[in-house]
């Protein structure tokens, strides 16, 4: 599913990823944790095919990223810190545009809007007038309308209220149940530990640990929670 060996990715001259080794199985929810600046965002973007590899190997969804980054892109869904939306267009316009760009049809659009609770009044509101949580929901709608095989989420819970976070968790579980793989980075370890099957720790541009949730000891400075297998 995902296979990296010694992957080096540069941001300018800076090696954001300094030799990552990683192997992931499909249909899992994987939590990516690490300090700020450790390389989480770059790893997610590299897996999406947006960042070129300076060295090493990387295969995602069967595509070798060294030779062909572009063909993997429409099969992944990336939700970053930025919204990726057009502020002057409405929610409906945005979801419709991004879905059609990925080849989805009107049914997928409706399904996505309904699932995210955007098919009522909010459908015809301009994105610039939405709250941060509503924008995040719109971005998520754009993502699920595409039906990606690999979900890459950069701190998806950040800025959402309790209801929003529950919705994200539900969506991720539905996604893996339907056959997708999810990788999310988060500082919210309590919630994410309950959700995830596997935890990856990244520091200094490389993956330092990769284990099932049960095997993770969380250091007290992270909030004092002990890792445990969530009920699924």
């Amino acid at each position: 599913m995902v296979h990296l060996r010694g992957a080096v990715a540069l941001l300018g001259r800076f090696p954001a990823l300094a030799g990552v080794d990683l192997d992931l199985e499909p249909r899992r929810i994987v939590l990516l944790r690490g300090a700020n600046g450790a390389g989480k965002t770059t790893l997610l973007r590299t897996l999406a095919g947006l960042v070129a590899l300076a060295a090493g190997e990387a295969t995602v969804l069967g595509v070798d990223l060294r030779t062909d980054r572009r063909s993997v892109r429409h099969r992944v869904g990336l939700l970053g810190h930025a919204t990726g939306l057009y502020d002057d267009l409405t929610v409906g316009d945005n979801v419709r545009f991004w879905a059609r760009a990925a080849g989805a049809d009107a049914d997928d659009v409706e399904r996505a809007l309904t699932r995210l609770g955007l098919d009522g009044r909010l459908r015809s509101v301009a994105v610039s007038r939405l709250s941060a949580g509503q924008r995040r929901r719109t971005s998520l709608a754009c993502l699920i309308a595409r039906r990606p095989e690999l979900w890459l989420l950069d701190e998806p819970h950040a800025g959402l209220d309790q209801q929003g976070r529950d919705l994200v968790d539900a969506l991720l579980r539905e996604a893996t149940a339907a056959g997708a793989t999810v990788i999310l980075s988060s500082h919210e370890l309590d919630r994410s530990m309950q959700l995830a099957d596997e935890v990856i720790t990244i520091a200094g541009g490389i993956v330092t640990r990769d284990s099932d949730v049960a095997g993770v000891q969380v250091v007290p400075t992270d909030g004092g929670a002990e890792g445990h297998r969530g009920d699924r």
Binding site: V8, G12, R13, F14, P15, A16, A18, G19, A35, A38, I202, A203, G204, G205, I206, T208
Partner: protein
Amino acid sequence: MTTQLSNTSSGPDSTASRGTRILGVLALVSMAALALFGLVLSPPDANQGEVVRILYVHVPSATFAYIGCLLTTVGSAMYLWRRSQWWELVAYASAEIATVFTAIVLVTGMIWGRPTWGVYWVWDARLTSTAMLLLLLLGYLAVRRLPADHGVRTRRAAILGLLLVPNVIIVRQSVQWWRTLHQKPTLLANGVGAEIEGLMLFALFVGFIAIGLVFTWLLIHRFRLAWLEDQVDEAGLDVAIAERRAEGAAS
């Protein structure tokens, strides 16, 4: 900083070499010859008087400015097609030299123009095209020197470089049509199209040789300088990777 170059090429410690020293001497000698023939031995023109002498520099400079543009376009094409760093540096260096030469063309053109036409500038086809050429080159250099990543700069500049020759051709053609389709008395009648022969022709020939040698000498030095700058930038990738991993271990 002392750096271990990650690609083990033994870098030169200056841009000079035996080849360029010989070239430099030849260039100096031929410039001296140009001065001799241009200023002393060749006769003044029947119509233009002494002022014609500046054309011995003006015309070859224009020729080599255009050759520089051609090199930039070819270099950019090779860079985009083959990812050849060598060609990219050729493109950059020759664009800079071409810019200098274009400025020389404009200045010598104005020096020639003042006594001949009474004014420093006229909007004739040649001068206007040259001014446009300068602007196009400045645009290329602006992009090549952007405060951005090396890769970003070179790729974007290469696209501009690739379009340089087509742009120059279109601009020249449109300016040419524009200034000559009107039935105005052309000021070019007294200009470069006039007959030159004998010693004047020889002086012009020496001019081509001299300016050509200077152009080549400048180009080689500029290229080497750019190459060395790039080498310094690129070195230290391994160091950077090690530092990055260390920062992770420490946290």
